[in-house]
């Protein structure tokens, strides 16, 4: 049973890219284009890791993060921030902060270290 990664990003091109990278490395993926949608998907898909963008229309990544942390079942899900803005302080216990544009090899390395 492959580990599942949730990708939350408003840019469909980026979502497509990340899905390709993760699936090429043997992970299952699911995606959401906003924080709100992301919360729903987290509950239904129960991913092993979340790949989160910060700047999105509507609610930004940090808001998603705070809501996620209130849910006892899901609050321990590791998060990797993948964003173009400087926001490493916004999500304080993120596993890693990856700046766009990113090196896919490096990102996969972090993912492997986190969930195997």
């Amino acid at each position: 049973m492959p580990k599942k990664i949730l990708i939350i990003d408003d840019d469909p091109v980026v979502v497509k890219y990340l899905m390709a990278v993760f699936s090429d490395n043997g992970y299952a993926t699911c995606s959401a284009s906003s924080s709100m949608e992301g919360l729903d998907v987290v509950k239904t898909e129960k991913p092993d890791l979340i790949c989160l963008d910060l700047q999105m229309p509507g609610e930004w990544g940090p808001r998603f993060y705070r809501k996620l942390r209130k849910d006892k079942e899901l609050k321990d899900t590791p998060i990797i921030v993948v964003s173009g803005i400087d926001g490493d302080h916004a999500i304080k216990d993120a596993v890693a902060f990856v700046k766009k544009p990113f090196d896919p090899e490096k990102l996969i390395g972090i993912v492997k270290n986190t969930i195997g």
């Binding site: 980026v14 990278v21 173009g84």
Partner: protein, 648 residues
């Protein structure tokens, strides 16, 4: 000492002998042979001492004593009695005879009796004198008291006159309203034309003339027959106003205007006259000094590189400086918010209002509209103006025009803003390109053409986004040259309309195309004009979407024109705009939409139309909607226009 003495006896021998003896003792002796005669003489001569026999025919000595004492109680009466009428003698003492002597008369006894009479008289005189002195003393003291009372009354009168002084100040044409600052000599005169009181300035300049004649201070050249103002007032009972020349204490002459006022007692007779003389030269000097000071302040007020206004609690302008008048249409009494911002109500963050509240100086930055229609950024300082009682009656507002600085800052901050958003955008685009390339690479590697194709689609999407971003950057970086496109008006309008229509209809708003145009072609940069029109149409959409009024919202997009000129009109029945919003509409980063607006849309639209040599005009009424009219000439010249020279 009155040495008169009346001797009364019916025996002539006694009258003769005793008479001689008394005359020798220094008395002027009057003789009477009976009581009736004695009374007659007594009434005529009023001698202080009467010597009378008791037993006489007719009226006896006792009765005479009683009558004399009744007529003049101070007369001392000595009784002469024979042997055996001691009872009568004693009875006479009861009737206030001073003493009695018995016949034959012993000279020593008589002398003792006379001395006693004299002693009594002297004592009584002393007593009377003392009593009379006392009365004098009392009347003296009362007179002094009355004088003091009167002076107090005069003092009150002088104080009460201070209000009258203001009228006098009016005569002097100056704005001098304060009694204390007036160079006036005040004096009070009595009916004997003596000065009885003067004020300190009088004392200082003219000398302490209390007790002097009322006319003393008037210059000698007033001549014989001169009636001084105080005297005239006593005579006529009326106050007067006249010019005169006074002699000052140091011998100078002082031209004055003299005012007099009668002060009447309860009977209505003039008891005192108050004379007030205003030194004309002093007034002139003060007025000149005042003028000079005022002039200096006026110059400062007018020349400082600020707009200065003085406002009352209703924000009405009570004074403005020259620069203010140059740049704004000012009528005294107009409201600040009217003149500066064309608002009907005071501005919500008014620093003047805050200064009225707390008495402190406040700052604010605002955008105001000059009479030329130009927008100025001003930095405002306020300062409270207080009356002598310390109450804030007005606030002074100084506004510095910082438009140029602000423009520079606008450019810088817009550059900063753009750079940060561009850099974020670029990061996203690079990531997207990476994604596209990754898919293509892995697609080739795994020989999956559909994956290569998907990657290629992504690359195309990203490239078009890059194109748009570059367009935006060019708008901000500099005025870019317009690209010349020949477009068919109708096709162009249709293209614009179909871009926004779905969005408008999705919000339940009616969209009406009203195209009434000749099949003509115009020369425009279609890409940017399209952008401008879409910006305005999207604003119309927001104006309708935000309007809570229960009405059917509608946006009408009309186009009229030929190959010379095309007129677009975008009309909505949404929330509308107040004048301030209307005037700031095309300002960079001005947004009436809170966080939803960027403040870029209409700024860009205005810039685009301006570049085409066209113009945008706006009509709007709050609650009724807005109407944007965009006029563009059939072709344009590619010159970089200075927005300041834009005519509207």
């Amino acid at each position: 000492m009155n040495k008169k003495l009346l001797l009364v006896d019916d025996e002539e021998g006694i009258r003769k002998v005793l008479g001689i003896a008394l005359s020798d003792a220094g008395y002027t002796v009057f003789l009477a042979k009976n009581a009736e005669e004695a009374l007659e003489i007594f009434r005529k001569e009023t001698p202080p001492i009467v010597l009378t026999d008791i037993k006489m025919p007719g009226m006896d000595g006792i009765e005479l004593l009683q009558k004399i004492k009744r007529e003049n109680p101070d007369t001392e009466v000595i009784m002469i009695s024979g042997h055996g009428d001691m009872d009568l003698a004693i009875k006479s003492l009861k009737y206030q005879a001073i003493d009695f002597v018995t016949k034959p008369i012993n000279d020593d006894v008589l002398e003792i009796a006379l001395n006693r009479a004299h002693e009594k008289i002297r004592m009584r005189e002393q007593l009377r004198e003392y009593t009379e002195n006392l009365e004098t003393l009392v009347s003296e003291k009362s007179a002094k008291l009355i004088e003091v009372e009167r002076q107090v009354a005069v003092g009150q009168a002088v104080e009460g006159l201070s209000s009258a002084m203001r009228d006098i100040a009016g005569d002097l044409e100056g704005g001098l309203t304060y009694f204390n600052e007036m160079p006036c000599f005040v004096s009070v005169h009595n009916p004997k034309l003596k000065i009885i009181a003067v004020n300190p300035l009088y004392k200082e300049r003219l000398g302490d003339k209390v007790g002097h004649n009322s006319w003393d201070v008037y210059s000698a050249n007033t001549g014989v027959g001169f009636t001084c103002p105080a005297e005239k007032t006593f005579k006529t009972g009326k106050g007067l106003r006249t010019k005169a020349i006074l002699k000052t204490a140091d011998g100078d002459k002082a031209p004055v205007i003299v005012h007099t006022a009668p002060i009447r007692n309860q009977d209505g007779t003039v008891e005192l006259v108050v004379e007030i003389s205003a030194d004309i030269t002093e007034v002139k000097r003060l007025r000149e000094e005042l003028n000079r000071t005022q002039q200096r302040y006026q110059q400062l007020f007018d020349e400082v590189p600020c707009y200065i206004s003085v406002q009352d609690r209703q924000f009405q302008l009570t004074a403005t400086n020259r620069r203010f008048k140059e740049d704004f249409d000012v009528q005294i009494g107009a409201f600040c918010h009217e003149v500066y911002k064309h608002r009907d109500a005071p501005c919500p963050n008014c620093p003047v209002a805050r200064t009225f509240e707390d008495g402190q100086s406040h700052q604010a930055e605002m955008v105001v509209t000059a009479k030329t229609g130009e927008q100025y950024n001003v930095l405002i300082w306020t300062a409270p103006l207080k009356n002598p009682a310390g109450e804030i009656t007005h606030v002074m507002e100084m506004s510095t025009n910082i438009t140029e600085i602000r423009k520079l800052q606008d450019n810088l901050s817009s550059l900063g803003l753009k750079i940060s958003s561009i850099s974020h955008g670029i990061k996203g685009l690079l990531t997207g390109l990476d994604g596209g390339m990754y898919l293509m690479e892995t697609g080739f590697a795994k020989a999956k053409p559909e994956r290569v194709h998907a990657g290629w689609e992504d690359v195309k999407t990203i490239v078009s986004r890059i194109r748009k971003l570059v367009h935006d950057i060019l708008f901000f970086a500099k005025e870019r040259e317009l690209k010349r496109d020949r477009v068919h008006i109708l096709n162009f309008a249709e293209d614009v309309a179909s871009t926004v229509e779905p969005k408008i209809k999705a919000d339940g708003i009616e969209f009406v195309r009203d195209f009434d145009t000749l099949p003509a072609e115009i020369e425009i940069d279609a890409g940017v004009v399209r952008l401008a029109l879409i910006n305005i149409l999207e604003n119309a959409l927001d104006a309708c979407a935000e309007d809570d009024a229960p009405k059917r919202h509608k946006i009408v997009f009309s186009v009229k024109g030929d190959d010379q000129q095309v007129k677009f009109e975008i009309k909505d029945n949404g929330i509308g705009m107040d004048r301030e919003t209307r005037e700031n509409l095309f300002t960079l980063f001005f947004s009436s939409k809170g966080n939803k607006g960027t403040g870029l849309g209409l700024f860009i639209a205005d810039k685009i139309i301006d570049q085409h040599g066209g113009k945008i005009t706006v009509q709007s009424t709050p609650g009724q909607g807005s109407n944007f009219k965009i006029t563009i000439p059939g072709s344009f010249q590619n010159t970089t226009r200075n927005p300041k020279e834009k005519t509207e």
